[in-house]
């Protein structure tokens, strides 16, 4: 089994669509309910950030396999304004939109691997993986 699938984020409702698709993928892969909730929550945060800060973008899912483990990789990519100071946005409570500032630091804790690649004026790609236990 290998698939690549994703959701275009253009309108607010796509946030719900992305997290529902991601949860189904997680379930198919054999994640338990708590990890399914973690994955769905992380997707919700990433998709909302795209919608809020970049306007449009894409959240895609991919199964990744290592020697003796399987995981779900989520890639959230946009061509928005980019992130100037990555360490700042990873701080709990930092928000430019009056939010809780819990999204990105939260995603890092909810998932296992986490990476931000962002170029100012060009966009942001956030890649994160959860491994099946």
């Amino acid at each position: 089994m290998n698939f690549q699938s994703g959701v275009h984020i253009k309108k607010e409702w796509d946030i719900v669509g992305a997290r529902q698709l991601g949860r189904n993928r997680a379930k198919e892969l054999g994640f338990g309910t708590v990890d399914q909730a973690r994955i769905a929550t992380a997707i919700s945060e990433l998709a909302r950030n795209i919608y809020l800060y970049a306007g449009t973008g894409r959240v895609s899912f991919e199964i990744v396999e290592d020697i003796n483990k399987k995981g779900l990789k989520i890639v959230a990519a946009d061509e928005g304004p980019g992130i100037l100071d990555i360490s700042q946005v990873m701080e709990d409570g930092f928000s430019t939109s009056g939010g809780l500032g819990a999204g990105l630091p939260g995603v890092k804790r909810l998932m296992d691997d986490f990476d931000i690649d962002s170029v100012q004026g060009e966009g942001t790609v956030i890649t994160t993986i959860k491994w099946v236990r």
Binding site: A37, T41, S44, L100, G103, P105, R109
Partner: protein, 118 residues
Amino acid sequence: MRIPILKLHNYLLVSIQIDLDDQTAIQFQEDLLSKIHKSGATGVVIDLTSVDIIDSFIAKVLGDVITMSDLMGAKVVLTGIQPAVAMTLIDLGIHMQDVPTALDLEQGLIKLRQELEE
């Protein structure tokens, strides 16, 4: 989509049965506050048994609605938070310490009565 708000004596009861999108969450905030205002309710139970995800946005809306209701004189109790949801909230760094919670709707009503008698 709109979340139904029921009135029972001095209390309002809400059971969230759908996957909350942002618009519905904001609409719910407005509806609940206006219903508190119109009915003069002194307590609200929000049951989250069917909610399988609370992200930072929904957590903020819920937190705000609790603070605003409090300002208007109505105590809010949250009930039925799923274990998985409780765990993701902690990962998000959201600790709803000051929010009264209970296992289910029935316990929520008991808790409200206690809170209001204090």
